[in-house]
Assembly symmetry: C2
Homo-oligomer: 307 residues x 2
Amino acid sequence: MSALFERVALIGLGLIGSSIAHAVRRGGLAHEIVGYARSPETRKTAARLGFLDRVTDTAADAVEGADLVILCIPVGVIGAVTEQIAPSLAPGAILSDVGSVKSSVIAQALPHMPDYAELIPAHPIAGTEQSGPESGFAELFDNRWCILTPLPTNKPESVAKLRRFWEGLGSQVDTMDAAHHDQVLAVTSHIPHLIAYSIVGTASDLETVTESEVVKYSASGFRDFTRIAASDPTMWRDVFLHNKEATLEVLGRVTEDLFALQRAIRWGDGDALFERFSETRAIRRGIVEAGQDTASPNFGRGKPPTE
Amino acid sequence: MSALFERVALIGLGLIGSSIAHAVRRGGLAHEIVGYARSPETRKTAARLGFLDRVTDTAADAVEGADLVILCIPVGVIGAVTEQIAPSLAPGAILSDVGSVKSSVIAQALPHMPDYAELIPAHPIAGTEQSGPESGFAELFDNRWCILTPLPTNKPESVAKLRRFWEGLGSQVDTMDAAHHDQVLAVTSHIPHLIAYSIVGTASDLETVTESEVVKYSASGFRDFTRIAASDPTMWRDVFLHNKEATLEVLGRVTEDLFALQRAIRWGDGDALFERFSETRAIRRGIVEAGQDTASPNFGRGKPPTE
């Protein structure tokens, strides 16, 4: 594939930013990849790892002359950073992002946009529980979905170009409106993370069971929750602050359902429990068939080392 | 290792029963492994797979002459099955089990025990989301914990022998009293399963988000919950019916904590969210260091960082 963009600028060089850089290079999607991170430490690490052609000392320097700029930063600082870089955006540039919330990104960024550049929000549904410039890798987006939430004012050819870019990173691409995106992600991502954080936190707070017992016997289910509860706290704080309505709505559903199960346990209603527990295998099967998880038992953690 | 037991009888040939058979053979822990399952289909599959020396047509036939009998059946039928096999237990035989709940197993089984045999309850903390005789494998218990909850009346040498047996299957062995076991497992296993069932069920019940969207975008967190929500419904119904007090207690804590988080979201209390989300990484690290989970991102599902 010939390069889609002359210069891609990445603002923020954590797991997602660094993975985009690796994948842009793998796909030959840009002639130059430049990047900036707020922390000097991160910039130094990025320079050492060499996944960028150039690390800049300011966000404005990175943005200058780039035809694609991607904000790979927590949702809570989208407004401030857009305000800061907007004057440096090149005519015709596309400004995009990778935030887990889309309505708020639009509300924060759009007021700062010059009329000669376009905001096209995006959200790659991919990640690991790790953070930082050393955790990125080129295959992160392969066979994962990326959701674009274009604005009515976007040029179709700009949206098509960003779509081809994400396809070049290995993703399948969907488009939907921002409000619907935020509802979907509340279900598939935000509330699962909140619950994982909650149960892992609760488990380490009990008087009758020690933390060392929780750790030892975690293979019985608990350990599955600890992976996503090890995700970046700043990123997740911002998600909940910026997707309040949808997450509260889904959380209300979940607690309602938990109360129904609690009642079934209290009254010994085995049929209700059995029915609930029987409905859920199909959705697991669907996820495996859609290539969104492994079919191997225990996520393919595999047979533990024998000796 | 020379054979610890003359004849091991397995009642129930699902994931755990069949895995014990494979591991007994691997370790040379018994001269003969016999087994029985209620379903003729399961018995036929077990015979075809050949992980037993002998498949019997009744539970009593399997138990006869065995010096170790292990019930690998749902907790809800422990009483009935013990009553049925008790008259066939050999003098000096150990009757054990693999149930996820221990106080109830003792309450159900003990009244039926003849005074010339011993009940020593056990619980291997190991499993996958799969079920049935074809899902078993010899390595399932390697480096996992097995908890024994001996009775005050057990002979120390019998407990020591059962401990060596589980070590021979690959496990590390702990002992504790049954009531404490049930509290620990409520935290590490039962409530995580209940919550996983609940959130997976809730997600497929929403009006605004389709099930196909949930499946497509599940890599953003949701898919982690679907694995344990694909576990055997009968087994899990019985767990909650037979560990009512401890599961209700822990569930009460979790919902209380969820309400606190809900309140923090509603009031935009970012500090409270950040603090909660920062406490949970250490426990993940502890689990990885204890060898109870993989350190690879995404449970090692995906490609790890290349360099």
